[in-house]
C-alpha cells in the first residue's frame, strides 16, 4: 500500500487502497490520477463536498484530444449558436479532461439530432456510462439527453469521451454534433 502523507499520487497507486488519513475517509486511488495532489481532503483542507457540484464543458474550443471531431457549424436557433461536428466516420471521438468529486452524477448532452447522426458512447476513463442516440428523422437542435446515476468512486481528474462507435439502423452515417456538456452532482 502506498504511504499516505500528502503530496502526489504515487505512480504505482492506481486502483490501490489508501487508509483513513487526517480525518479523511480512506478509499482507492483512481485510475488516472498519477501526479495529482493528494489527499483529497487533508485535515485543515477542503473536503470533497466543496468540489464543484456543477461542471460545465464548453465544446467549441479545441478539445484535449479528438479524432475527426473538430468542425464548428453554425446552428440557427441553436443554443450557443453553433455545434461541433465530427466527420461522420465511425469511431470519431472527442475528449475532455475534467475534475469530478466522488459521488453520483448526472451527465447531460445538448446536441443536434438529424438523419445522419451516430450513437455516442459516453465514457469516463474508458468505461461506458451510457449511450446517446443522435439520430432523428428530421433536424432537431437543442436536444437535451441525460445519463443519470453515474457513480464516481474517487475524486479526481477523469477523461470524458464521446465516441460515435455505432448508429441507429435508420441513420445514414455516424456524424456527431454537440452543443454543450454538463455534469451535475446529485449525491
Amino acid at each position: 500500500m502506498p504511504r499516505v502523507r500528502g503530496g502526489r499520487y504515487p505512480a504505482t497507486s492506481t486502483g490501490r487502497a489508501y487508509p483513513n488519513v487526517g480525518g479523511v475517509r480512506g478509499g482507492r486511488f483512481p485510475a488516472t490520477n498519477t501526479g495529482v495532489q493528494f489527499p483529497p481532503a487533508a485535515a485543515g483542507g477542503l473536503s470533497e463536498d466543496l468540489l464543484d457540484w456543477l461542471v460545465n464543458i464548453g465544446v467549441f474550443e479545441t478539445a484535449i484530444s479528438q479524432t475527426n471531431w473538430d468542425t464548428l457549424a453554425a446552428q440557427t436557433d441553436g443554443v450557443y449558436a453553433f455545434s461541433k461536428d465530427s466527420s461522420g466516420a465511425q469511431n470519431d471521438q472527442i475528449n475532455f479532461d475534467i475534475s469530478l468529486a466522488a459521488g453520483t452524477w448526472t451527465f447531460e448532452l445538448i446536441h443536434v439530432q438529424s438523419t445522419d447522426r451516430g450513437i455516442y458512447d459516453v465514457q469516463i476513463d474508458g468505461s461506458s456510462i451510457g449511450t446517446i442516440d443522435g439520430y432523428a428523422g428530421s433536424l432537431t437542435r437543442n436536444v437535451r439527453t441525460q445519463i443519470t446515476s453515474v457513480n464516481v468512486a474517487a475524486s479526481g481528474k477523469v477523461r470524458l469521451k464521446l465516441i460515435a462507435s455505432t448508429k441507429n439502423a435508420s441513420s445514414s452515417s455516424y456524424v456527431g454534433s454537440i452543443q454543450h456538456c454538463q455534469f451535475k452532482r446529485t449525491t
Binding site: Q37, D49, L50, N56, D77, Y80, I110, Q146, K184
Partner: protein, 144 residues
C-alpha cells in the same frame, strides 16, 4: 499541501442554464435566440416559477450577474441563496430586448459551503402582464 478555499474555489463561476437544472418549477423551456449565448431558458409565466443551481461558494463577498430578456410580460426575479433573498432584478420592459445584464452585489457568504442559487419569479412590476422569467446566462463573482 492542503489547499485553502481561497486557492481552490473559483472566484468566477459561470452557470450555463440550458441543461436541466438540479431543481426547477415551471422553468425549463429552452429556445434558440439570435443573441448572445444563442438561446434562453424561459419559465411558464406562472407566479413563483423557479430554477435552482448548486454552487460551491467560498466565504466572502459575492456578486450574481444575470443575463436575461426583458419583455412586457416578464416578472421580477428574486435572487436567493438557500432560500434567502439577496436582491431582485426587474425584467419587465414595455419592449422586448435580449442580453440585458443586471448584478446583485454585496452578497455576504459567511461560510464556505455548497449553496443553492435560486431564481424565483415571485413578484412583478405593476405594468407587467405576467411573471415570466427568461435567462441566458448566470455568473457569480467573488469580490472580497
Amino acid at each position: 499541501m492542503a489547499l485553502t478555499a481561497d486557492q481552490a474555489i473559483d472566484w468566477t463561476q459561470d452557470l450555463d442554464v440550458f441543461e436541466q437544472a438540479i431543481a426547477n418549477t415551471n422553468w425549463d423551456t429552452v429556445s434558440g435566440l439570435s443573441a448572445i449565448m444563442g438561446g434562453h431558458k424561459e419559465s411558464s409565466g406562472a407566479q413563483n416559477a423557479s430554477i435552482g443551481f448548486d454552487v460551491i461558494l467560498a466565504a466572502g463577498t459575492w456578486s450574481v450577474e444575470l443575463m436575461y430578456l426583458r419583455n412586457s410580460d416578464n416578472g421580477i426575479i428574486s435572487v436567493q441563496l438557500d432560500g434567502v433573498e439577496q436582491g431582485t432584478v426587474n425584467s419587465y420592459s414595455s419592449s422586448a430586448s435580449a442580453g440585458n445584464r443586471s448584478t446583485v452585489s454585496s452578497i455576504s457568504v459567511a461560510q464556505t459551503a455548497k449553496y443553492r442559487l435560486s431564481l424565483v419569479m415571485a413578484t412583478k412590476h405593476a405594468s407587467s402582464s405576467g411573471y415570466t422569467g427568461e435567462i441566458q446566462h448566470v455568473q457569480l463573482r467573488r469580490t472580497a
